[in-house]
Amino acid sequence: MSVAERLPEPLAALWENDVTKITSLLAVIYAVYLLTGAALGFSPRGQINSIASLTFYIAVFALLALALNLHWGYTGLFNIGIVGFMAIGIYTMAIVSKAPVFAAETGRSGGFGMPIIVGIIAGTVVAALLGLVVALPALRLRADYLAIVTIAMSEILRFVFLSGDLEQFTVAGYVVGLGGGSGLILDFTPPVEAFFTALGLWNAYLGFVDVVGAVVPNNPKPVVDSLVYGFLLLFVVAGYYVLLRRVGNSPFGRVLKAIREDEEATNSLGKDTDAFKTKAFMVGCGLMGLGGVLWFMAQGAITPNTYRPRLTFFVWIALIIGGAGSNTGSVMGGAIFAAVLFQGPRYLKNLIENFVEVDAPSGFGPAVSPLISNLDPLPFLFYTIDSIRQLQLVIMGLILIYLMHNRPQGLLGHRKEPASGVPLDRPRRPAGEGEGRPPAAADGGSRGETDE
């Protein structure tokens, strides 16, 4: 069943390495996208654009799936309010970092004018604190209550952001606010510029943009910016991955896994499970907040209705595809979700339209009637292709159902990363040493195995 079993020996060993798995998956995805782009006759600008948005979505879904894996895969906490933590992250970041406004004026609120990095840290911390607030009443209850509390929290937050009363208020002379239904304009320095300026490389970066200008005529900066931002996010993914691996492969992670398996038994072994759950939940929420900041801060503006629960379920699908409980699986699940389910349908539609003259009917009636009256399936097919964006959620639902039935353990199979800070092999073979009964042990062994 596993890929490794079908590969020759040296390749199988290589495949066992997690980084190989992730990079080869990414290589395949990128190859397919570039080939599709070539087939569609994309200009270099179009190719860069498509790769940039692909990279961006791979990165954000991988980030969020990794954070959710800490909650669900490791600790068994059923958090379906992910989008709430993302939203509080970006809203906090926006208010902290937006340019200050001192005179109240309708429809225009500012922020505290802090550097972007302060905003990012604030967004992360506030999301973690919101996690604490949610955790205090809910974590003591059973898993399903946590689910109810988290999804309710995410919707309450969205309505708070929409609320007219909080649209604009004044704090210590600064006119700030949540912007109500029209949202907030993110008028701080674009993150890519802020990043390279902080490194003192902004001029070098502009030089690089000019070089790209040779292949992408007419204002190459926006496409290069978005591509570079996507790749910067991939580094953040690597950071999350290393952090969460360390968390997982430690005594702390071992207690989390034990809580997932049987909280009462873990408690009876002297572990303060409530404290462990609260910590893990807060860390995961902080990472979700940071994920929200990174997703939305380069987009110019935010509006409350972006943060509907379906974003939460996108992240869940990504995690389920990859396989809960595995950090490597989370990254791969995020990548596959972004490439195949999130961006894929639109590409497929473009590809088909490029080769076939799609003459889509204007509505469902004209699409179905030829199928019934003279068994002509083409209008219906064209209609389906034309509506593929709208059908995306249906497709996701079907795939989710298929996965739950046929491969609930996710892409990587039943893969559990060992929760230990050291390799678990026997430190040294105690050949004929100590205890003085290796034969008995062997005896007991066979007995043990056959006593089923």
Partner: protein, 298 residues
């Protein structure tokens, strides 16, 4: 409760030969067969006083009082519904008693959280073995030891500080392998706990409880669903551990097993302690027979 009830020789040979001989502590020390007694200083680690637990209108435990002597293998028996498991749960903090008190090593532990009780050195196992199924046997074992530095999140994550965690992990791992060897389940180390047989699970659970460095172990029906050969092994381990100075309280409703292995037996019936004493006293007690036969033989 007199010291004479602790009779190592009887336990080791499984034959309560000198049950009717009243021994003083000095005599016990002198006895050649009392080798193990040197490791088992006398004391009363666990004392339960007038414990009562009501669920709505039903009284599951109705004023039970008993104590367990250090270094003994004490059995808690009784027919189904006698309140044994509820008593257990009240002692270990899984349930909060309605009234009454539990003392462990002189300190009151009534109503403390299970993890606090466990960290005081009173560790339990469950009637239905509660191993962590999707973790390997070794991971199950490594969970247990107390005071692991890496259970603190920041120590596990930060560079440099993590080195001390990794060092300790090495020590923990070594101890776990030793314990696996002791219980002769080292060949199962990398199996997922969910794939073990019933008996192996019980062994794992005992091994895991032991790794928490307990003072005393509470075993809830450790032999239920265990085949005879594994049962013998489990008993052998329990006796061996008791000789090392561990105290055991075992809930069981297989009378014979308790009679043959425990030096002190507490019989519960209808939420109360019906009687306690040496196995042969219990065996011949009219009230116990009645309780087991349904209480209608007057």
């Amino acid at each position: 409760m007199s010291d004479s009830e602790v009779d190592e020789a009887a336990v080791q040979t499984n034959v309560p030969e000198d049950a009717d001989v009243e021994m003083t502590e000095a005599e016990a020390q002198d006895s050649a067969a009392e080798e193990a007694a040197k490791h088992t200083p006398r004391g009363i680690p666990l004392r339960v006083e007038d414990l009562r637990k009501e669920f709505g209108g039903i009284t599951a435990v109705d004023g039970a009082s008993f104590q367990v002597e250090e270094g003994t293998l004490t059995g808690l028996i009784g027919p189904n519904g006698a309140g044994k498991s509820t008593t257990f749960n009240c002692i270990t903090g899984v349930l909060k008693p309605t009234s009454g008190a539990v003392y462990f090593e002189g300190e009151e532990i009534t109503g403390l959280e299970p993890h606090t009780v466990a960290n005081r050195g009173l560790v339990r196992t469950f009637q239905i073995a509660r191993e962590l199924e999707e973790m390997t046997v070794l991971e199950n074992m490594m969970l247990a030891p107390r005071g692991q530095r890496g259970e603190s999140l920041w120590r596990s994550v930060l560079p440099f500080v993590r080195d001390s965690v990794v060092d300790q992990e090495g020590e923990v791992l070594e101890r776990c392998w030793e314990t696996l060897d002791f219980f002769e389940i080292d060949h199962l180390a990398h199996e997922y706990a969910g794939t073990l047989s019933g008996g192996q699970r019980k062994l794992l659970e005992l091994a895991r409880a032991l790794l928490t460095d307990p003072e005393m172990l509470l075993l809830d029906e450790p032999f239920a669903g265990v085949n005879p050969s594994l049962e013998a092994r489990l008993l052998e381990h329990i006796h061996e551990l008791r000789e090392q100075g561990y105290t055991f309280l075992i809930v069981e409703h297989d009378m014979d097993l308790i009679m043959q292995n425990c030096e002190h037996v507490i019989v519960m019936h209808q939420g109360q302690v019906l009687m306690e004493g040496r196995p042969e006293e219990v065996r011949n007690d009219e009230r116990v027979i009645e309780a087991y036969l349904g209480g209608e033989v007057e």
